[in-house]
């Protein structure tokens, strides 16, 4: 299984640790990720908030590069995922926009290939049974809640992935790894990621709501698939002790029995240390 891989800017800075577990888990599962040559930033929310044509051109250049590689694109960052996906969706529906993108980026672009988020690839392309077979060290006793945030599931018409109000993919995946995925109501609540540098008071309120809902059902950790959500959830909690946040790929690596030293390496840059929790369950 091979994909064109779009890492996105955060994978080179605040989420450099996410990149490590993503690459390790994909390698273990035989998923080949070929990085797009000389990709640029997708523009994130600042692009579409301020300039429609600019946002589609910034994603368009990346999509045109990937189209030349002749493969579907894999993206681990949900914020990049929704931007790329929305350009594909709109370019397919509106040929005038597609031609405008070609003119602005100076490259041909036919919107031939699709973009997939990494959770989708794990659960639907690799498949839960295949993942279950790889588990060597089940995460027995670990109580988690799966946090999907906004862009894995919204807007439903564009992303066409899972249920927008009560998604299950990550929960099924956690169950396959042997963890106890608790049902809760914060799954698709917004963490306020786009305001992390501007409206910290709003972010703290949104994060408190999410963390409270996780605590109420007795979660020991929150599982995330987005580096911006994770950074926000880790750093904007107001009540101690803070609940640790883990990337789903880290728990996959752990359950697959990857070397303890490697797993500890992924976790050492974390602002809310998840190691004591994992040690208490004899997982590290």
């Amino acid at each position: 299984m091979k994909y064109a891989y779009y890492p996105g800017c955060s994978m080179e800075s605040i989420a450099a640790d996410y990149a490590l577990s993503v690459e390790a888990v994909c390698k273990a599962l035989g998923v080949e990720l070929e990085e797009l040559d000389d990709w640029n930033c997708c523009g994130a929310s600042s692009g579409h908030c301020t300039n429609y044509r600019l946002s589609h051109a910034l994603t368009g250049r990346n999509l045109a590069i990937a189209e030349k590689m002749g493969m579907d694109i894999a993206v681990a960052c949900p914020a990049c995922f929704v931007r790329l996906k929305s350009t594909i969706h709109e370019a397919r529906e509106d040929d005038k926009l597609r031609r405008d993108i070609e003119q602005v980026i100076g490259r041909p672009y036919e919107a031939k290939y699709d973009v997939k988020n990494l959770v989708d690839i794990m659960v639907n392309d690799i498949g839960i049974e295949e993942i279950r077979k790889r588990v060597k060290k089940p995460l027995a006793g670990l109580k988690v809640v799966s946090y999907y945030g906004c862009f894995l599931v919204r807007p439903p018409k564009v992303v066409q992935f899972d249920d927008p109000e009560n998604p299950q993919s990550l929960d099924i995946l956690m169950d396959a790894l042997g963890a106890e995925a608790l049902d809760w109501s914060g799954k698709v609540d917004c963490c306020g990621g786009s305001f992390s540098l501007t409206k910290q008071d709003i972010v703290r309120k949104l994060i408190s709501n999410i963390v409270n809902q996780a605590r109420q059902v007795g979660a020991e950790a929150i599982v995330a698939a987005c580096s911006l959500c994770l950074a926000n959830l880790e750093q904007r909690q107001t009540v101690s002790p803070v609940i640790p946040i883990l990337y789903f790929t880290e728990l996959m690596g752990l359950a697959f029995g990857m070397p303890e030293k490697e797993v500890r390496g992924w976790l050492k840059k974390r602002m809310a240390n998840p190691v004591p929790l994992l040690e208490s369950h004899n997982l590290l």
Partner: protein, 188 residues
């Protein structure tokens, strides 16, 4: 019909609704004011007008009030309203359109920090091809004259090696600069 705003009778611009419809590709007249968008919005509590009110105000042509509102910038782009609207009004595309309009017409609104953030973020992409967190954050601090918020957190992140010191400059930077020129993006 007259609309009395905070500062007395408001000026109406009847063409606003048609323009927003055209630019956003969204049929605003499908809105029947059920309030689902506002009840779903996680940031509604901080806005000066609720999202459903903004839709109604666009229909009424209250351009000044809409473009100066804090709502258009406080929309967190979480897409919850879009997912839940029973009549498929793409509220986020409407907000995007209004934000773009406010910038193009250089409207000075109630919210200034968020538009400055967007401009700074895009400026970083224009400069390097990829966003560079550290220089972008420092530029934002200078531009908003807010030097102390999150300073300790920033230092902790630097010490943990979570912030890259040097930016990555892509080879095709000229292509990215051209994209900004052609679309009149940030800084052009």
């Amino acid at each position: 019909m007259q609309f009395i705003g905070e500062t007395g009778p408001a000026k109406r611009e009847p063409s606003l609704s048609g323009k927003v419809k055209e630019l956003s590709g969204t049929d605003l007249d499908r809105c029947y004011q059920c309030l689902t968008c506002s009840l779903s919005c996680p940031v509604a509590y901080a806005m000066d007008y609720y999202p459903n009110q903004i839709i109604r105000m666009v229909q009424l042509g209250l351009k000044d009030e809409v473009l100066k509102s804090s709502t258009i910038w406080l929309c967190a782009t979480c897409e919850t309203c879009v997912a839940r609207c029973p009549n498929e009004v793409d509220v986020l595309r409407v907000m995007d359109t209004l934000r773009e309009m406010a910038l193009q017409e250089k409207v000075e609104g109630k919210e200034t920090v968020i538009p400055t953030f967007h401009d700074t973020f895009l400026g970083s992409i224009r400069l390097w091809g990829r966003s560079h967190e550290l220089s972008m954050e420092l530029t934002l601090k200078v531009r908003t004259r807010d030097f102390f918020t999150d300073l300790i957190m920033g230092i902790k992140m630097l010490l943990k090696g979570k912030l890259r010191i040097l930016p990555i400059r892509i080879k095709g930077l000229k292509e990215v600069k051209d994209i900004f020129e052609k679309t009149k993006g940030a800084g052009s």
